[in-house]
């Protein structure tokens, strides 16, 4: 049993081109640590310190995990986690 994690095109260099990979853990944070063992570097693209990176969207099934519990969000076997880079920009320079 496992949790499916759907990977966007731009991050598939970390998954050998795979569109989806499987991992395990009790929370999203644990799942990402688990995934990093097989797909080194992936977690770093999603997490900055203790939080999700601001311009990465992570969804648990149909919900944005920002509205659940971020990295503390509980996950369980059979869930699907989807990663999408936020589409953002604008004329303001930061």
């Amino acid at each position: 049993m496992a949790i499916e994690v759907r990977i966007p095109t731009i991050l598939r260099s970390y998954t050998g081109g795979a569109k989806a990979v499987q991992g395990s853990g009790g929370t999203l944070g644990e799942l990402l640590i688990n995934l990093d063992a097989a797909h080194g570097g992936l977690r770093e693209r999603l997490v900055d310190g203790e939080n999700l990176r601001r311009f990465v969207n992570v969804y648990l099934n149909d919900e944005d995990v920002r509205f659940l519990g971020g990295l503390e969000t509980p996950v369980s076997d059979g869930d699907t986690v989807t990663v999408l880079p936020a589409v953002a920009g604008g004329s303001a320079s930061t």
């Binding site: 969207n57 969804y59 920002r66 936020a86 953002a88 920009g89 604008g90 004329s91 320079s93």
Partner: protein
């Protein structure tokens, strides 16, 4: 080069004009690998800002899944600048995450004339490309 139909070209400009002075944003989907923009998908700017845009995260999930189901991809990702030229800002470049997409920028700073330009943005590098509007 971006080749786009007159109808889609006009729809992007109409969306940008309608949301002015806030930035407008959206996608034109097309068959994966075809490089043909076909399906116009205006998106909400979750920031509702004259200087920033961000797709609403749940709307983005729904649209990206729909494209996946239809074997489509984002051929064009467009947004408007409402007070500056239609050239990618540093913000645009740092967040660009779809290297296969044509990044279209329109500027609505001039009331009568709309700038419409297209770019590739990959690994922090911006390359402008010609736009051919097909009738």
């Amino acid at each position: 080069m971006l080749t786009i139909s007159r109808g889609l070209y006009e729809k992007i400009i109409a969306h940008a004009r309608a949301d002015h002075p806030d930035e407008a944003c959206g996608v034109i989907a097309g068959p994966a690998g075809s490089d043909r923009p076909e399906r116009f998908i205006p998106m909400q700017n979750a920031e509702r800002s004259p200087t920033f845009y961000r797709f609403d995260s749940l709307e983005q999930l729904r649209v990206w899944r729909e494209m996946d189901d239809l074997d489509e991809e984002a051929v064009v990702i467009y947004h408007s600048h409402t007070a500056t030229e239609a050239y990618p800002s540093r913000t645009d470049i740092s967040y660009a995450s779809e290297p296969q997409a044509h990044y279209v920028l329109v500027s609505t700073r001039d009331e009568s004339e709309t700038e419409f330009r297209s770019y590739r943005i990959a690994d922090g590098a911006v390359t402008e490309e010609p736009v051919q509007v097909s009738e």
